[in-house]
Amino acid sequence: MASTQHVLLSPAELAYLHAALSLTPPIRPDGRAPAQFRPLVAETGILPGTNGSARICFADGTEAIVGVKAEVERTRLVDGATAGTEWKEGGSARGEGEDDDGGDKAGDSDWVELTVEIPGYRDDDAGTAFLAAMLSEALLADGAFAKRLWINRRFHWKLYLDVLLISPPLSYPLPLLSLTTHLALLATRLPRLKSEGDEDPFFDDDWAAARHLFPRSSSSTTKESARPPVTLLVMAVGNNIIFDPAKEELAVADVALAVSVAEDTTAAATTAATMDLDDAAAPAARSLRLLSIRTIDPPSRLTPPGVPNAANSAYGATTAQKQPEARTAEAEAVEGVWRAPRGGAKPLVMAALVQKVLEKGGVADEILDALDAVDLG
């Protein structure tokens, strides 16, 4: 859905938009700078029945809610494992890097279930499945996330992330859903474990003692100062790179990419060691990790082409009537007449898009800083 939804713009409007966005600097319909996000309102902890929740409302009226629920689940043992071998689900992808700490603390991507619900679309719609796959792929890419859900060798947390878009999809909802998921995960708390070792888990019933899934700014656990990833939507028109495109802007995109990035935990550990308990100064030395990239099929390929005056019979062109094959023959590109883009994107353009997302002090940094400021309650 969504990325290819029908755009109700005429060829003349599309040509105008494309020309405006190709200028240096580009002129966006809503007056934003090329790397500026839409203003947003965010809050967390809105759903008391969940382990963590968040709501984000963009200025254009799109709004999303994410609820995170956790359940204790028994880890299934397969392969007739003897003492000291792994406990895992059969046939599922493992998070890599399981040998890093202590060896036996392994996560499994089956422990996270992410569903996306978009009004007006079936939940088995290919586009919805694509969005859900993109969000969970970024979450599980580094393998460290599933490890957080490990309780002991016999039990683990199963995390259900339910992503709900509660407004109609006025623009491609990927950045909105990703930011909301990020906040909800930051706000997620799991009850404190009281039992020890491999016994049946027993939890502290005091919710105030519950620990965050992503603990914040504690100097003792520097290793765990990681944060969930964010996925940014970025597109190219002509020579310009534009972040967080609205629906009309995406309709004239030459190429659109969804890039997922996360904070580098190893680098964060070194900065936290030098300045303990100072979360305001930490982002200065933030370094990012690239987790996933996907090409979004831009809806511009489905837009109707314009007819140049030379081929328009209303302007005295007679060729179209006399030779029907002339109509189908490829017309030369005429300045100011919209044509849907054909073919793909140059590898260099794609590389430039990714480079722009990852650069130091760029948009990704700005977004992570802005999300830092949200009160997690």
């Binding site: 043992l77 397969v78 392969d79 007739g80 895992k88 689900e89 059969g90 046939g91 599922s92 992808a93 493992r94 998070g95 890599e96 991507s109 088995d124 290919a126 586009g127 499945a129 694509f130 859900a132 796959a133 792929e137 890419a141 580094d142 393998g143 990419l257 990035v261 580098d264 370094s287 990012l288 990790r289 690239l290 987790l291 996933s292 990239i293 996907r294 090409t295 979004i296 099929d297 390929r301 489905l302 837009t303 109707p304 082409p305 189908t328 849907a340 054909r342 073919g343 793909g344 994107a345 140059k346 590898p347 794609m350 590389a351 990714v354 480079q355 990852l358």
Partner: protein
């Protein structure tokens, strides 16, 4: 009241014992290793026109890795159309693509159901993005085309009893095969494209022996200890354009050179697959 008439099994789930003999343990321990040079793809067999009833079809088989118990990828693709859209559907100035990717229930180690699961839908979306860039869509207004890829055999190691997290990486290999076979089937159906698009995969792998990770093309996950990152690329060689890029993994952002190299290698793999594709299409014409 329990059932006393039948002899029932135990109530709880049990796990059948799996005996591991020395030989298989040894194989699993060494995990084969890559037998090809790092910039060579596996041999592939491509044939068009295998399904007479479809307007275009193709079959792709990729060589096994030479070890017993490892199956190669086998794909079949049919293209139905272009045909006119039903009267009830709204006007479309372009051809409407619908892509379906389905694993056969017996294609993978774990049985798949008959209904498409989310990962298959996801592959279908990737395939659609890759093909839509290649097709000249405005030559068929008001029409639609169905592209159906069935994965008859997945690219999986059946010998190793343990799960090694290969499946998420297998999807990339499957997608690159899907793109190549669908492109051949589109050409067979006579649908105009700007160029033949082919898929290629490159991965950043680390092996036990090597100190630093290396980049290989067309990776087989069971041949490597760990895959750090992989990317699948759909590439149009004569236009030098990428129609689909799917990258997954974990790379430090400070080292963009690694990422650029990975994409370059992916393009290289795709260009190699494209040579096979062009040769196959040339045979059909000649």
């Amino acid at each position: 009241m329990s059932d006393r008439r039948r002899i029932n099994g135990p109530v709880g789930a049990t796990i059948p014992p799996v005996s591991e003999d020395g030989a298989s343990r040894e194989v699993a321990g060494s995990r084969g290793g890559r037998s090809r040079p790092p910039n060579a793809i596996r041999k592939m067999y491509l044939k068009t026109g295998v399904t007479p009833s479809a307007s275009g079809s193709a079959y792709l088989e990729i060589e096994t890795s030479g070890r017993s118990g490892v199956s190669g990828l086998k794909l079949s693709c049919t293209v139905h159309g272009p045909r006119s859209l039903p009267r009830s559907s709204p006007f479309s100035p372009h051809i409407i693509l619908s892509t379906h990717v389905k694993y056969a229930p017996f294609a993978t180690r774990q049985r798949r159901g008959y209904l498409r699961d989310p990962s298959e839908r996801d592959l279908g979306t990737h395939l659609e993005a890759a093909l839509r860039g290649a097709i000249i869509a405005d030559r068929w207004p008001k029409s639609g085309v169905d592209i159906i890829v069935s994965i008859i055999e997945g690219d999986q190691d059946r010998e190793t009893s343990k799960t090694q997290g290969d499946e998420s990486w297998d999807l990339m290999n499957a997608l690159s095969g899907c793109i190549t076979v669908a492109s051949a089937a589109l050409a067979d159906a006579g649908i105009d494209c700007v160029d033949t698009v082919a898929g290629g995969v490159a991965a950043l792998v680390s092996d036990k022996g090597d100190a630093s990770p290396s980049i290989v093309i067309d990776p087989i996950p069971s041949e490597h200890d760990r895959i750090l990152a992989a990317c699948c690329i759909a590439y149009l060689p004569t236009r030098d354009e990428v129609t689909n890029l799917w990258f997954k993994g974990d790379l430090p952002a400070s080292d963009t050179e690694l990422y650029t190299k990975l994409v370059e290698k992916g393009i290289q793999a795709s260009a190699k697959a494209n040579r096979v594709l062009v040769e196959c299409l040339g045979e059909t014409v000649g």
